[in-house]
Symmetry: C2
Subunit: 341 residues, 2 copies
């Protein structure tokens, strides 16, 4: 089985790739497990060396919109035997808000081109689309309901959220037409991400933990009572794989499912950091407000009811403290402070 | 004030044009009424001669996607002084289901090109987008709720419905960004339309009344108990104009509003026809089922709660019999049977 991951050099894509290579097989849509013979990682940059060292891994490096132009044979982004495509590549929320055309190109045009490339295969491959909690939006004239379910009408208040929601619609129709098997999955805010800050407005949700653990100051640009719906990298990847493995009957309708979320506040996140690594860590959080980021984050509701995900056996993380300890365990080289037991 | 109507040679566009020319002025978004100095009708064919005879009318004739290519100066589809654009042009539901690419081009690409042309003006013109009841869809795995409100999550079960719902999302974001003033309006099934059948799956909702009144047989391809949410041409045009005239505060959120609907069944429609024109008329309805049309129509729920429209003073038609009589009054040349008082 050949599996494609767009955004395969990104943090989540690489983690998904490593998990898939490690498990070595996948039960596509409820069928018997098949060995993963090839993993095609599509991204602007080459995958990490550990991934490239695996004989099953192929890279398609370049601009996604260029790679997906109809004469695909040259680029190999969507190989003719692709059985599953995890579509994670996207411009992030902050970028899309700052540069409208970039967001439309990277998120809307690229998703449509990807779906066209999948349709052209004629084999109705399974597409798992990484949508986002950011489809939900809270605005003064239209407050989001207190709890968001799988059937809540999204009212996105960012271009990123609009583009993701449009992606869900395209997915649903390409699925209904039989061009693909559609799996729309809404990711929660992923924390703690290793590595460096990115252009996402949500980047600080990881940075405010990751940087202090490395002894480095980091901004938290929103007030302590800001609520957030979080998921660890591990649970997020689990959700993506479950989407590919679920049978059509277990999956249900082609509308998106919310992945499970741990609802907490940035104040509680800072307190958990202090429990794990002491005041030396929490004192490194810089609480200077950033009105631009605050405005974006404030539109993302935090209370998510993930009923369909629960039925698929997907559960939220136990606690944010557990998430921090998991991060520290997985990234020992990035933690310089001493941790409390 | 220069007003643009795409689909301006179509039935609804032409009726909107005549209504606007007759009233002569418009209160744009709650401002003081201004005279309508120019009406630009954009369509693949030239507008009717009565419209072209009005000195205020200009035509832009051609393929909409071609007319909207960035070098607009040559075509005049979106003049630099356009204050309001009523975007009615679309490929209809039956066409889009039969030809996926046609629908994507005519409904998604053209709407996006229109919004880009409006954004390029720099004047944030008001765009009234004719969305549709067809965004709602009933599917075996995801039945629509018994009553559809303005906040119901649409789950379109046709490509046309998906494309209209995506149009609503684009409208909302172009509005939020300040590129346009966005007015998303969901039209109900319009009946009785004069003229000829078209490719819409809903075409028979007019034909089953219009043709018998002219002494001609007409198909009703769905069972008598099929429910439908209807609006007369007059009420529909009223809703479009109200959308342009409502102030931002009166209008509310950028999500779409449902226009008011008279909920009835095709059996009741046939009975109303019999009350108006006797058995001579109702006997001309051919009840031979068409499974393709039935399948599409069956996904359109019929119980619509149009709360926002009601707050704007928009109400459904009184009865289907009143709609038939209005049609007969407005189109005496198309009625050959004697009507009962």
């Amino acid at each position: 089985m050949n599996i494609v991951i767009t955004g395969g050099a990104g943090f989540l894509g690489a983690r998904l790739a490593r998990t898939l290579l490690q498990q070595g097989q996948l039960s596509l849509a409820g069928a018997a497990p098949q060995p993963i013979t090839r993993l095609t990682l599509v991204d602007r940059v080459a995958p990490a060396t550990d991934l490239m060292a695996d004989a099953r891994v192929t890279a398609a490096v370049g601009d996604l919109n260029e790679l997906l132009k109809p004469d695909r044979a040259q680029t190999g982004a969507i190989p003719s035997d692709a059985a599953i495509i995890f579509h994670l590549a996207a411009a992030v929320s902050g970028e899309c808000e700052a540069d409208f055309d970039l967001g439309m190109r990277s998120n809307l045009d690229a998703t449509r081109a990807l779906l066209e490339a999948c349709r052209a295969l004629g084999s109705a491959p399974t597409v798992v689309f990484a949508s986002s909690l950011a489809v939900f939006g809270d605005s003064p004239g239209q407050p989001a309901p207190p709890v968001l379910t799988d059937m809540t009408l999204p009212t996105p208040q960012t271009s990123y959220g609009i583009q993701k929601f449009i992606g869900e619609q395209l997915m649903a129709d390409y699925g209904r037409k039989g061009f693909i098997r559609a799996r729309n999955v809404r990711l929660m805010t992923v924390s703690v991400r290793p590595g460096k800050p990115n252009g996402a407005a949500s980047s600080f949700f990881s940075g405010m933990i990751r940087e202090p653990l490395a002894g480095v100051k980091a901004p938290c640009p929103v007030p302590p009572d800001t609520a957030v719906a979080l998921s660890s990298p591990g649970r997020t990847v689990k959700g993506l794989i479950r989407a590919a493995e679920a049978s059509d009957a277990d999956w249900g309708p082609r509308t998106a499912i919310n992945l499970p979320a741990l609802t907490t506040t940035v104040g509680e996140m800072a307190a958990a950091l202090e429990r794990v690594a002491g005041k030396a860590a929490s004192a490194l959080i810089d609480w200077t407000p950033d009105p631009v980021i605050r405005k974006i984050v404030a539109t993302w509701p935090a209370n998510v009811n993930a009923a369909r995900a629960r039925e698929l056996g997907l559960l939220p993380d136990d606690s944010f403290e557990a998430i921090i300890r998991e991060y520290a365990r997985e990234n020992p080289q990035a933690v310089t402070l001493a941790l409390r037991p």
